[in-house]
């Protein structure tokens, strides 16, 4: 083995950056790995290189991002851009890949700050060219200032849907309509949680401002939409949906869908760390303590990978994880850690206050996934349809990994990231069990594909 670094952090978003800054300030030798070309994560993607007009994108928090990135550039954190972490082992070794090389690097402590992914959401026509996630559209916008030609439709459920639509608008694009797929009962159910949310009023203000902005620009905001469908030959031509008891079909060349976020948990899952089903957020979450520490004493998780709670909360979680690492590696004692953590916890709790409300307000109609038509593709990598999965279920295989073995769903390049939730939902519906009992795919490294040639030349640090 090579000599171990103190702390390896995966992900240069708000959580990873904050963790790195905190730990480096306390004297740790910190290495920060990110598969993108520049630091900032999702929210501050390509912010350093952004043209001045992006400063005015709503929700970009340009000033806060610039400050974070400036402090990061001035720190002595060792930053490794365009470096994929494809494995973390229980021997505390990171498996890394960059520029055709692959190598193993031992670390004394590790923080996973890999962020979130958008909840995959199959519906009729979702594989047509022209349909993509709103997040993917945002990446094009943030990195290249690109917007779709011709009118675009946004559809889904979640605060980010409105945010990204507003950013799109600010970039000069035309939005044909925003279809809100949050079920009818959500608003009423969320109401009871409003008082708690008022502890973080800026989120509510921002949400209302976004809606206003879209409305003023003449974007129809259509609520309680169901039965979304993209239609067309080689490309989306129309989008059809049901609202207020009527089916409507509108012309659109682009449909951007967003159904909320899920913690990116492939690395945590590949370590066989326990995960719990969160019925409030409808997702699996790694079992962690308040610092983000896992049952492995050298591993913590921060940011969206811990808990979907926004960029500011991600920074706070990053700071806490940085303190955890500094204490764990003997740079500060427990008392010092706790002293520094107290105000961070307070600020974090304020951020979290709004979440139960938002989670309820934007809860996606997860049950709909179980009603997918047999013909609809669920696993895009291996082209496995809902009907294929039901067929396998009928053979008596009622567990996610069994369906994977029988149908190949989840065996492709994305390692099941895209289909796991739908497969679980189908099983839950057909077997009458709660989705929490159905489980997730067993995950193994490499969590992202690596070239065989790189593996054949793997630098193990042993000689």
């Amino acid at each position: 083995m090579a000599a171990a670094i103190d702390l390896g952090i995966i992900g240069a978003g708000p959580a990873g950056l904050s963790a790195a800054l905190t730990a480096a300030e306390l004297g740790l030798e910190v290495h920060l790995f990110d598969d993108g070309p520049s630091p900032g994560g999702r929210i501050f993607k390509a912010l350093e290189a952004a043209p001045a007009d992006r400063r005015w994108y709503p929700g970009d928090d340009h000033a806060r991002g610039a400050d974070l990135l400036n402090r990061f550039r001035a720190s002595d954190v060792r930053y490794h851009p365009e470096t994929t972490v494809w494995s973390v082992s229980r021997e505390r070794e990171l498996g890394l890949a960059a520029g055709g090389r692959a190598w193993l690097l031992p670390a004394r402590a590790v923080i996973l700050a890999g962020g979130a992914m958008e909840r995959p959401w199959p519906f009729p026509g979702w594989t047509l060219p022209g349909v993509m996630t709103a997040g993917a559209a945002q990446v094009l916008l943030k990195t290249d200032g690109m917007v779709a030609d011709g009118p675009a439709l946004f559809a889904g459920a979640g605060p980010l849907l409105y945010l990204i639509a507003a950013q799109y608008l600010a970039a000069g694009a035309t939005i044909a309509a925003l279809l809100d797929l949050a079920p009818a009962g959500n608003a009423r159910a969320a109401l009871g949680r409003l008082p708690g949310a008022l502890r973080a009023p800026h989120y509510l203000r921002q949400g209302l401002a976004l809606r206003r902005r879209l409305r003023r620009a003449g974007v129809p905001l259509i609520r309680r939409v169901t039965d979304l469908e993209a239609r067309g030959g080689g490309q989306v031509e129309t989008v059809s949906y049901r609202a207020a008891g009527r089916r409507t079909e509108v012309a659109a060349r682009h449909l951007f869908v967003h159904m909320g976020l899920l913690p990116n948990s492939n690395l945590a899952a590949s370590l066989d760390l326990p995960h719990d089903w969160d019925q409030g957020r409808l997702c699996w979450r790694p079992r962690l303590d308040g610092w983000g520490a896992s049952e492995l004493p050298w591993l913590a998780i921060a940011g969206d990978g811990y808990d979907i709670a926004g960029a500011v909360a991600a920074e706070r979680r990053g700071e806490l994880a940085g303190l955890w690492a500094a204490e764990g590696l003997g740079r500060i004692d427990v008392a010092e850690r706790d002293r520094r953590a107290a105000p961070i916890h307070r600020r974090l709790n304020r951020e979290l206050a709004v979440r139960p409300f938002l989670d309820r307000l934007f809860r996606p109609p997860l049950e709909d996934l179980a009603k997918l038509d047999d013909a609809i593709t669920v696993c895009r990598c291996e082209m496995v349809s809902a009907g294929d999965l039901r067929g396998a279920l009928a053979l008596g295989c009622g567990e996610v990994n069994q369906l994977k073995a029988l149908t190949r769903a989840g065996m492709g390049r994305c390692q099941g990231r895209q289909c796991a939730g739908t497969v679980a939902q189908l099983i839950a519906a057909e077997t009458g069990r709660p989705v929490a009992d159905v489980g997730g795919y067993r995950m193994r490294g490499p969590i992202k594909p690596i070239p065989l040639a790189s593996l054949a030349a793997l630098e193990t640090g042993d000689d």
Binding site: E382, L406, R444, G445, P446, L452, A453
Partner: protein, 371 residues
């Protein structure tokens, strides 16, 4: 059901447990398979699927041959083709010395009266596998071997066994076994079961179970690893092995390439887990890059491992206990037990119904390691 009495209780729902259940049920015996996880969850569901006679220990050849006859008509028998394909299996020599070893092997097999292993020179080798690196010198081919889909196969055996009357208890571990008045009592979760016969099909946990029953076998539990690539255009038909290196290599119908050969992960049978070892997978990747230049462009998308018992002499334990009546061991398949699945159940059924079998199982005796 919290209690029940059977002619036989099978511990372990891998391929061998399912095969035993099927054969016993087809002969009219009542049988229960107890599986601590789910049927096919371990080695039987995650192996490389190689259906290979090629290169087997001479002691295994008669069993392997008999199993092969069953594979060739597996679809008719089970009502599911198990993804079985006759692709051929080919073992490659990379030097003149290795080719000489293969030649000797071919002679040995022929002398035993079998003709499935055939020596081929470079021309036929590159005709069979044009993508092979040109330094290869020849090979040994078994043209009617092949591969199947392991999980699907195991479940097909289970299904057929059920149809024939066998029962399965999943998610329940056997935690206590006692011999009382000529019968076995078995505790599994809340169940208290009894049977005249107990069949140890516990795979990677088989030696542990045998030790429980005071019949120690010096087997270790290992975790052979596999890796699989993103799909490539079809470039190789037979399953490829190598004389001088650890390799099993096949391209599936989906275009993906499954690579194994025995490099091992850390085995943690007590925790039901394995941990991959990328230092070992590196060796596997290197072998493949050297033997198949086209593979240098491939991407590895997934790696995994399965738990399997390995005996000191590399062949399984198959046969009656040397200590107790009504106890049969069937484990320790050393990484190549999938192909034998169809026949082991028949052997057990023979033993239970007539006390003997026409297949030569003496080399697999459980007490062969003693003394």
């Amino acid at each position: 059901m919290t209690s029940g009495t059977y002619d036989a209780i099978v511990v372990g729902g891998g391929l061998h447990g399912c095969s035993v259940a099927l054969h016993l049920a087809q002969r009219g015996l009542s049988v229960l398979v107890v599986e601590k996880d789910t049927v096919g969850r371990h080695a039987s569901g995650v192996n490389a699927g190689g259906v290979r006679r090629l290169g087997r220990d001479p002691a295994e050849i008669p069993l392997s041959q008999a199993a092969m006859e069953m594979w060739w008509r597996i679809g008719d028998w089970l009502g599911d083709d198990c993804g079985f394909q006759v692709s051929g299996q080919l073992k490659v020599a990379e030097t003149a010395g290795e080719l000489a070893e293969l030649e000797a092997r071919a002679r040995q097999v022929a002398d035993l009266g079998y003709d499935h292993e055939e020596l081929v020179g470079p021309d036929e080798l590159f005709r069979l596998a044009p993508a092979l690196a040109r330094h290869c010198t020849g090979g040994l081919v078994s043209r009617r071997d092949g591969f199947a889909d392991p999980f699907r196969t195991t479940r097909a055996f289970m299904r057929r066994a059920r149809e024939a009357g066998a029962e399965f208890l999943e998610g329940t571990a056997v935690t206590a076994i006692e011999r009382r008045g000529g019968a076995w009592t078995v505790r599994a979760g809340e169940y208290r079961l009894s049977a005249a016969n107990l069949i140890n099909c516990a795979g990677g946990w088989g030696a542990g179970l045998a030790a429980w029953l005071d019949e120690a076998v010096p087997a270790e539990t290992a975790a052979p690893m596999l890796m699989v690539t993103a799909p490539l255009p079809p470039f190789v038909e037979p399953v490829i092995g190598a004389q001088g290196r650890a390799l099993s290599f096949k391209q599936t119908g989906a275009g993906t390439v499954v690579i194994g050969g025995g490099y091992r992960a850390r085995a943690l049978p007590e925790e039901n887990r394995t941990e991959l070892d990328f230092r070992e997978l590196k060796l596997s990747a290197r072998t493949v890059a050297e033997l198949f230049p086209i593979m240098r462009q491939a991407d590895i998308v997934r790696c995994w491992a399965g738990l399997e018992a390995i005996t000191p002499d590399g062949i399984p334990v198959i046969g009656p206990s040397a200590r107790e009546d009504g106890l049969i061991h069937l484990f320790g398949f050393c990484g190549h037990g999938f192909q034998l699945g169809p026949i082991t159940g028949r052997i057990v059924a023979d033993l239970l119904t007539s006390g003997q079998t026409d297949l030569p199982i003496a080399p697999f005796a459980v007490d062969r390691f003693a003394g």
